[in-house]
Symmetry: D5
Subunit: 94 residues, 10 copies
């Protein structure tokens, strides 16, 4: 089941640099694990923004929330979720 | 070069039904040609909306505008364009 | 899988009265069939608005889109979809 | 009398962890007491958000305000209240 | 139970003048009946706007919706409803 | 001359508790003096919000500004002012 | 008593040309009469907009509403009203 | 050349009181010098707001920016600039 | 004196095709005359929009308004005007 | 490939003055290097704002993101990106 998710990041300007580096490293590892597992299908940087647009393919709403809630950067993110369905013009629709 | 594009469609409620059917058929053919050519990479329906989220992979801004401007539904669409770049957490980034 | 959906209705002021009555009757029957089937769990009127707040319990995103897209009033509605998950404070969570 | 209420939570990033844990525990107990009493009818997590959508069934406006004002997380919440009425398509309307 | 309600009116510019006069006369009579009955407590014109701010004192949400839904101008109105409670600084609070 | 005023309060989360208590006490006294004087005609709590809706009856714009500017909570408020006039449907209009 | 008022004009694109010319002529005469009477103190065109920013000096709210409500272009305007008071830095404040 | 400018002030709540008093005194002197020089034509307080609406008559855009950028309160202001032109209904237009 | 101007075009969907072609031709000629005269410095299409971003270099506000007001597409445009000044980092600033 | 970019700057009010001066100096040098290289084509100050409007001419989206992400003021900026294409009325279009 597909969802488009945009994540805007706003780190506190006084965030301690070790904590910052550690949080970013954990975020990257967390994301890449889910990419390898096939649940985090795509991730793109939005040009000029500290934001990404991602596509998730998950079992259900519960699983999507579990993934997003546990993002190391979750407390610093504004997140927007759009449920997706197959488009009738999609050539993959057969 | 990648772009995320959302297209919200609002057909006039008094649109003549033949014109409507013809426009939708031309829109579908137009989209599928570009999908087969590899420029219109993905198209998803946004659940509960007469809208799609699409990913385009085009040569440059000029080409993206040419594609969007010539959509048969263009006069009836509100379009939002987001330029994308590779995300540093993308496992495809190597 | 649960979703909250708000539907705001704006009928054209010059809508022919028979068409209007027929569309509303079909909308009501459509909604009640889905309520009896257990997919349209709740529907409330928002006070002072030609709007409803509804809860759906459906198999997946595809099914939710199919239901909403086929609403007789769909061409006259502005729809907002919020995917829901179980809340940790819900006493039903055990 | 029914109301839909959305609550968006924004805890200060420097909130002391004991205070945080205590506030969240009190919030959960407070919510569950009202759920058991039948006034807080439903609570769902909005996917990807530190937010909930809740349905309240209360005596009147005064009681709803009393409940919301005394939420342990009230000082950290943005709250939106929508009064609800029975929908004419509700199969429970008889 | 008190509610603040704002009503913004937008009559179609091509509305037939007899219909317009009749609708406005029925709106005025409807409002004045409810004022005399004590449910429509106050009505003020917002300066420079085709809008009013009103205070209603009604039995419950159902009754407020019934009143608003049956306004002769309802199809031409944008309505905003704010439930009110007693303010702790109100000298009438005793 | 009547005005509707909404006041949304946002106290700093680290406000010292004595200062907070004192400011609130002064706000209440200030409001009640003006209520007794007949200038602050009504004050209601907006349900679920740290906000009030008030009606003022003052000599002129200067006097309204003087009252609002000197509210003990003014530095913590977002204020919206709507000038009111008599509504032609008001039964008090004669 | 001073007010700033912005008026945005949107004439229907199919407005009959005689009616249009007549309405604009009446608007101009109406405005100039009030300017000569000293109630419509200033009127400026907002650059690139079919809008004006005006300053009114009127007896009270009732009079301002009467003036605005009777503008020949009122049915085609979106109006915003800001009550003004003397600024403490105004050199005219003495 | 005329411009309408609105300035909304938001002083930090922990601003040291001497700095605050000094900044406000410098702002007042700065504004009054420009009023006397004829560049800052009008300044009004917006009722109930820590805001002003001002009219400037300056040589060009560069000069307006120079004036605004050097306001002692500039770092604490949200500023909106509207270029003005003579209105065809202005009786001063001859 | 420089201004950035964005123009969003919305032609009526039932606009007669000859009128449409004629209006667009006149708009193009009008724009190109001003480009050759050096007042309309730049014009770019915003990708995926029926919009342009333009830079004007004009004598004063009056002249900019005159240019925009007389655009053949003016009745169909939403226009936004931003006055510009030299940036201190501009290498042309010397 | 052309892009319009607006950058709104909000420096923390308690930013240490040496850090502030150093950051601004690095920002200026960074911008001027790119201007000399031909990638940062234009930069204008928006009048009355701590903002600029810039035109970039870059190889692709990746390069634009690289430039913006490495702005010394990036952590303090709100950035808006608009991809541009040649306008059919541009006299340079031949």
């Amino acid at each position: 089941m597909l969802f488009a998710v945009t994540m805007d990041v706003a780190l506190p300007q006084d965030m301690e640099s070790d904590l910052r580096a550690d949080t970013l490293a954990r975020e990257k590892a967390y994301s890449q694990d889910l990419q390898r597992a096939g649940e985090w299908v795509s991730i793109w940087r939005c040009v000029g923004q500290y934001s990404n647009l991602s596509i998730f393919d998950v079992r259900d709403n519960e699983r999507l929330h579990e993934i997003l809630w546990n993002l190391p950067l979750f407390p610093f993110m504004t997140i927007q979720v759009t449920p997706l369905a197959q488009h009738p013009s999609d050539i993959a629709a057969g």
